[in-house]
Amino acid sequence: MLGTRAGRSEIPGSPIGKDAARGDEEPLLRVEDLRVSYSTEDGLVQAVDGISYELARGHTLGIVGESGSGKTVAALSVLGLTRAEGATVSGQIAFAGHGDLLALPEPQLRAVRGNEIAMVFQDPLSSLHPMYRVGAQIVEAIRAHREITKSAARARAIELLDLVGIPEPSVRVDSYPHELSGGQRQRAMIAMALSGEPKLLIADEPTTALDVTVQAQILALLSRLQRERGMALVLVTHDLGVVAEMADEIAVMYAGRIVEHAPAERIFEVPEHPYTWGLLRSIPTLDGPREELLTPIPGSPPSPLALPPGCRFHPRCPYSEPEHARTDPTLAPVPGQPDHEVACLLDPDVRRRLWSELRAESTQRSAT
């Protein structure tokens, strides 16, 4: 039984120790061998294929991958939302003394959902109900978990809107979603997510649908709220740039699996997986010269209906060897680095050499 004696020692707002998640303390969230599949007319889609991770209280995990990598499905499954959509889910999700969320009957899971674990979605316009006022939708979320009067819930909703930085919250509370700007809509979504004082907030591409200028504001807001409330945060994104500032740890997903998992600074400094290299090399930098070419990853992610044999990345990997099409790599610690895991068949020394070459090449290019 996991998580029954979850400690409260992690102080909200304290500076985040990078290794705490690996310490003796019971993690807030422990996902073990999570598998999610959908049966479609074209066959079985294994959207998430055995991922495991842990998250300590108040920490941030960035889950990064291309569309179709299974990162959103993995996040939704933590709240049991893929179950409602008819997926087959297996594995274990231990959360803050609730035992295995996947084994929890629907009513008990509902008490956790939106209350202790909350979620913010990608597109706030389509994620808010178009026919109800923003305030009414927040009030509904509050009253789903607490026995309080409508007027008290409304006062709380105004407080929450104020907290997330919506101007004139007592007026905006009566706005319909389409009357708000994109950034304000996402703030309202965040306010709704906070209505239950969650210990864990899952943000699925929270800035992707927003204007670039607003994206940074929303990330800053999430960061501030996390600090003030000591929430753990799972930040799902396709953009390594988004998690660079915020995440303590980063898990890189590819074709339904985690292919690399490490503390954030190691992902940026000494990444081990060729796919992570590709992601890093396709981020534009402000300080680099304008002529610097971004290096895209060749090809596209495999169809979940026809996954390649062996290493799933080998058809797109510039360093793959014939043998990689037969052997399926497992996620294992890098020698000497217990908290840096990678699923790659290349020899560790070869990987280190390749990365330093790539790095030298890009510094050289930016120098000229």
Binding site: L76, S126, H129, M131, A141, H178
Partner: protein, 320 residues
């Protein structure tokens, strides 16, 4: 919003004037049987016919006839007099309206009460056996002609000719004020027969609309809040899915208020549809004209009602 409503009402009036002019053209100018001759009877001599023609104003120039017709219509709601019985069309229509209203409203309540829950149920259990059989039966009722269905239920359940004598048969309609009990029992079969086809259509509409809505992102948000599934479906899914259906509903009711000709004929209910049917068999133009205008009025009013209601049902729609 007020400006929009006023503009819509003015357009409605204009449309009504156009429809009136069109009915005039259809019934006076296009070659049809001569009303004066119809009125005069079989062995009338030309002198009598000419006299009747003068009385009806049919010898005046067409434009004059049109002017008198429009003036009477819009200033006095004067729809003329039946060629056949000589009764005023206005009083005939008002006399028949309660039966049509009873039939339409009762049936509408029944088809919504049956069709919508079936549609919701089918949408939530999509591709299950229940869904498939419900939609199969629905298809059967959509395809069955209502006069045929009417005859079948009369054959099965009517008190006079039925195999199981349960409900009053054809021609047993009584006004609600005259005999409420008889009014109710005589309408049960026509209500059900008229509702059957519509219930089937609405079950399919509701199913399709709800299936689409349940795939929306805001349904996922509602679930993520920790709401019970029942509330997710009713408060978030059905609320959004039902909006387009209510607009179709208003239009259907508008059309039916203009007279359900087949049902009223099969069950011999003295409503607008029956009045219309009889008038057609007698080439009684003033009545046909009156019922056509009434039907147009109901459809125009239903359309305006739908547009105004939509602004309240869907806050994204705001007219200016």
């Amino acid at each position: 919003m007020t400006g929009y409503v006023i503009r819509r009402l003015l357009w409605g009036v204009l449309l009504l004037i156009l429809v009136s002019a069109l009915t005039f053209v259809l019934f006076r100018i296009l070659p049809t049987a001569d009303p004066a001759r119809l009125r005069a009877g079989h062995s009338a001599n030309p002198k009598v016919i000419a006299e009747i023609r003068a009385n009806l104003g049919l010898n005046k120039p067409l434009l004059t006839q049109f002017w008198l017709y429009m003036k009477g219509l819009f200033l006095h709601f004067d729809l003329g007099y039946s060629y056949y019985s000589g009764a005023s069309v206005k009083s005939l229509i008002f006399g028949r309206l309660p039966a049509t209203l009873s039939l339409t409203i009762g049936s509408a309540i029944i088809w919504m009460a049956i069709g919508l829950p079936i549609g919701i149920f089918s949408a939530l259990r999509r591709r299950s056996r229940t869904d498939r059989s419900a939609m199969g039966v629905a298809l059967l009722f959509i395809s069955a002609p209502e006069y045929w269905l009417g005859l079948i239920v009369l054959y099965l359940f009517a008190a006079d000719i039925g195999q199981v004598k349960v409900f009053p048969g054809s021609g047993s309609y009584a006004g609600v004020t005259a005999d409420p009990g008889k009014w109710l029992t005589s309408l049960i079969l026509p209500w059900l027969v008229l509702a059957a086809g519509f219930a089937a259509v609405y079950a399919r509409l509701m199913r399709g609309s709800l299936i689409e809505t349940m795939g929306e992102d805001y349904i996922r948000t509602a679930r993520a809040k920790g709401l019970p599934e029942r509330r997710v479906v009713m408060h978030h899914g059905v609320r959004a899915a039902i909006t387009p259906i209510l607009t179709i509903f208003a239009l259907d009711v508008g059309v039916l208020l203009g007279g359900a000709v087949l049902i009223e004929t099969v069950f011999d209910i003295p409503g607008i549809g029956r009045l219309n049917y009889d008038a057609i068999t007698h080439a009684d133009f003033p009545i046909i004209q009156g019922t056509v205008l009434l039907a147009a009025l109901f459809i125009i009013v239903a359309n305006i009602a739908v547009d105004i209601a939509y602004a309240y049902l869907d806050p994204r729609v705001r007219y200016s």
